[in-house]
């Protein structure tokens, strides 16, 4: 991807056998990094990729000579320009940070002080290190804003952090990192929290800034497709060890290690179910003209803030309906309305031909049993004080009146259904991994013996490989139990692989509904096309070749 002649070759950073350990609450010592070694050459962008807990952020922070609270360096060296960062004292480390090595965080919104103007925070680095005087630092910042294609670069610095969008603040954080002309920039998942359409703008801005300056960077991410666009080399990590390292083209094109292959296979284009492959045999769940929102009711009977605005759909028995859209489009609210957690202001919700009351408290036990909701974050969806057995067992007692041994047997059966060993019913949620928790979450919903499952982004918080397994499980369960899914997601790939039909939402309104196989058909709504084209692919040239209608982007993307 070298467009600009780089002075590559010289080694800037050399990490040798780096070990980091952490002490847990109970006093046990765990090794987070188990001897990691690699080099970063001047002018290259190196990507660290791996799932949560693989140690990628720990490595990135060690480049700033920083270990998170509870962690400490227990061996190895981090040589930056020949100086071992680990042996430096705190004063010398401070001189290094922001000056020679800078950091772009995952959540820029959380790293800006909400009560100070953006410009004052961006130029702070220059003041602290005495690099530039205030006026020239401002000029330089405005130049950076321009090169990161931020709107109105002259005045955006006079705003407060809450007055800019998520994509903009991420680029402003990058400007802050670049102000001191650092020799190395560490990007820590800077686009993970953004919507796909926004992510493209930010990625483009980062890429051109990197190329213009011939920057050296370390880019941490869990998303192989994003990394493929921006990096020269990729290091694949798992459990604190390097699995594979190589040039981007090699890793993406011909991965050698089985783990990398598993990561890549999760990206393979899915075969969408052919339209009409299964006959519609009557709607199990139907919603008509639903309006719902938050805040007090206005005089016209509508809520103050409308989140779902006149949405109608019908979910066929045994089918899956995917709801996609970006954050704030009302897709999760729609699920909460269906579950009765947020009573609709108007409109009808029909389950099995019977009208449901809007509030959950007004619905009968039988109506509630037929429709179960599964939440996105399994960490908070499971009561941390109850064992798995009690969590799954409660719906059995509640809906089916099971007790004692019958209940225990059923719990074991449900665990088996979600491919978990029976012994797990004695565990507490914190003793499970993210993927296991999501399975328990699913088992609890299945315990009610429902007809409809309302799934709220249930794979979004999971690592790629784990998410693929959960999706596979969902498909099997659908076949076995004849379930119907209302599946909310922001990821068009996930929806396409699981669902028969797809509904696209924007700004609380339904834009269109179509058969999953027809996603790429010509007749799609322009926003659907934009969404579909915004998802990065493994092709390293994808970002450069991407052509999107700027008019469309302006209209729909929140960048």
């Amino acid at each position: 991807m070298t467009k600009y002649p780089k002075t590559a070759g010289e080694t800037l950073v050399s990490i040798k056998d780096l070990r980091v350990t952490a002490t847990t609450d109970s006093g046990r010592t765990i090794e987070i990094l188990k001897g990691v070694s690699f080099n970063v050459r001047r002018g290259e962008v190196l990507a660290l990729i791996g799932e949560s807990g693989s140690g990628k952020t720990t490595i990135a922070l060690s480049l700033l000579a920083y270990a998170r609270a509870g962690c400490h360096f227990s061996g190895g060296r981090v040589l930056f320009d020949g100086v071992d960062l680990i042996t430096l004292d705190e004063g010398a480390r401070r001189k290094l940070r922001g000056n020679k090595v800078s950091y772009v965080p995952q959540s820029a919104a959380a790293s800006f002080n909400p009560s100070k103007k953006i410009m004052d925070q961006v130029v702070e680095v220059a003041e602290i290190h005495g690099i530039l005087d205030k006026a020239s630092a401002r000029d330089k910042a405005i130049g950076l804003f321009r090169s990161l294609s931020l709107p109105s670069p002259e005045t955006i610095g006079d705003r407060y952090p809450h007055q800019v969008s998520g994509g903009q603040i991420q680029r402003l954080a990058a400007a802050m990192a670049l102000l001191g002309d650092p020799e190395l920039v560490v990007f820590d998942e800077p686009t993970t929290a953004l919507d796909v359409t926004t992510q493209i703008e930010v990625l483009k801005a980062f890429k051109s800034a990197i190329l213009d300056r011939g920057m050296t960077g370390v880019y941490v991410s869990h998303d192989l497709a994003v990394v493929a666009q921006i990096s020269d080399r990729i290091i694949v990590l798992k459990d604190g060890e390097i699995q594979e390292a190589g040039k981007t083209e090699q890793i993406v094109g011909a991965p050698a290690h089985p783990y990398t292959q598993a990561l890549i296979s999760a990206f393979e284009p899915v075969e969408a179910k052919a339209a009409g492959s299964r006959l519609a045999n009557g709607a199990v769940l139907e919603m008509r003209d639903v309006v719902a929102g938050y805040g007090n009711m206005k005089s016209d009977g509508k809520p103050h803030i409308i989140a779902v605005d006149g949405v109608s759909f019908a979910l066929q028995r045994g089918h899956s309906l995917g709801v996609i859209g970006e954050s704030g489009c009302g897709k999760s609210t729609l699920l909460r309305v269906a579950a009765g957690l947020l009573p609709a202001a108007s409109g009808a919700c029909v389950l099995d031909g019977k009208d449901l009351r809007p509030q959950v408290s007004a619905r009968s036990k039988e109506e509630l049993r037929k429709m179960q909701i599964v939440f996105q974050l399994a960490d908070t969806a499971l009561n941390p004080a109850q064992t798995v057995g009690n969590i799954i067992g409660r719906p059995l007692t509640f809906y089916h009146g099971m007790k004692g041994e019958t209940r225990d047997k059923q719990v074991i059966e449900l665990l088996d259904m979600v491919r978990m060993p029976a012994q797990f019913r004695h565990r507490l949620p914190r003793e499970l991994s993210g993927g296991q928790r999501q399975r328990i979450n699913l088992a609890r919903a299945l315990a009610a013996k429902p007809d409809v499952l309302l799934c709220d982004e249930i794979t979004s918080a999971l690592d790629t490989v784990v998410a693929a397994k959960v999706l596979e499980l969902l498909k099997e369960l659908q076949r076995e139990l004849h379930l119907s899914y209302l599946f909310v997601s922001h990821d068009i790939h996930t929806v396409q692989s699981l669902c028969d039909e797809v509904m696209v939402m924007f700004g609380g309104k339904k834009l269109e509904t179509f058969a999953a196989a027809d996603l790429h058909a010509e007749a799609r709504h322009p926003y659907t096309k934009l969404l579909a084209s915004s998802l990065p692919t493994l092709d390293p040239g994808w970002l450069d070749n991407l052509k999107q209608d700027p008019e469309l982007v302006r209209k729909f993307a929140h960048a």
């Binding site: 609450d25 036990k365 939440f375 974050l377 969806a381 609890r444």
Partner: protein, 280 residues
Amino acid sequence: MTVSTAPRRKIRFQIRPIAAVCLLVVLFWIIVALFAPLLVHYPAGDMVSYDYFGPMSKEYWLGTDYLGRDIYSRLIVGTRYTIGIAFVGLILAALIGITLGLLAAAFGGVFDTILSRAIDTFVGIPNLLLALVIVAGGGSSIPILIGAITVIFFPGCYRFTRSMAVNVNALDFISAARARGEGHFYIMIHEILPNIAGPIMADLGLRFVHIILLLSGLSFLGLGVQPPNADWGALVRENMIGISYGSPAVVVPSLALASLALAINLLIDNLPQRIRDQLE
């Protein structure tokens, strides 16, 4: 299929030395309070020596007071009054406060607002003043003292429980329970309470110290436990002039009070990390 039994859960707490010492001190006073009748040497109200403000001796371990009564016996009996009244008052205040706090969090809305504002009015009155008013109105007897403590301390329990419970109430597993159709009481008892029990226990410990100090304050003003009986605060008050004679009669109950208050405070400050995490 083999049906396995639940393995015994190992509690992996790292116990700090200072916490262990404090726990021993607290346990010591609890045992003293429980077995007081077996430990006393003389009936607490009897004048047993002609020597007032006498020094520590073989017969009178901790000396004698301003009427020649045995301080050791009076201290032991005083422990019963101090810890007993404070404990019963705390339990009552906690029962009322925790129940109302959970109700407010689970029901929310107007109910929560009205209850919270109503209870806020109690918080506006200084503790000692409210105690003085209650005791002045009802006379000083042990049930009145316990009632005063309950009235004064339940708003704090309520506010603490409510603030913790509201946080838990916003989590997804509560939404999941509500979507399942569970009632408010199931959610209060089974979903919310187990998650906030640790911090609440720690908070109650601190409140216990406050109660003991308030009770001693009342007794010091002469409104607490009435003669010939005395709790620790009353012991300090009646022997106050003894301080100029260097008598142990005033120092010993003060030390007892300080040791218990300090021990409970330090114990809670040094609780295992897992409970402390929940507290923050």
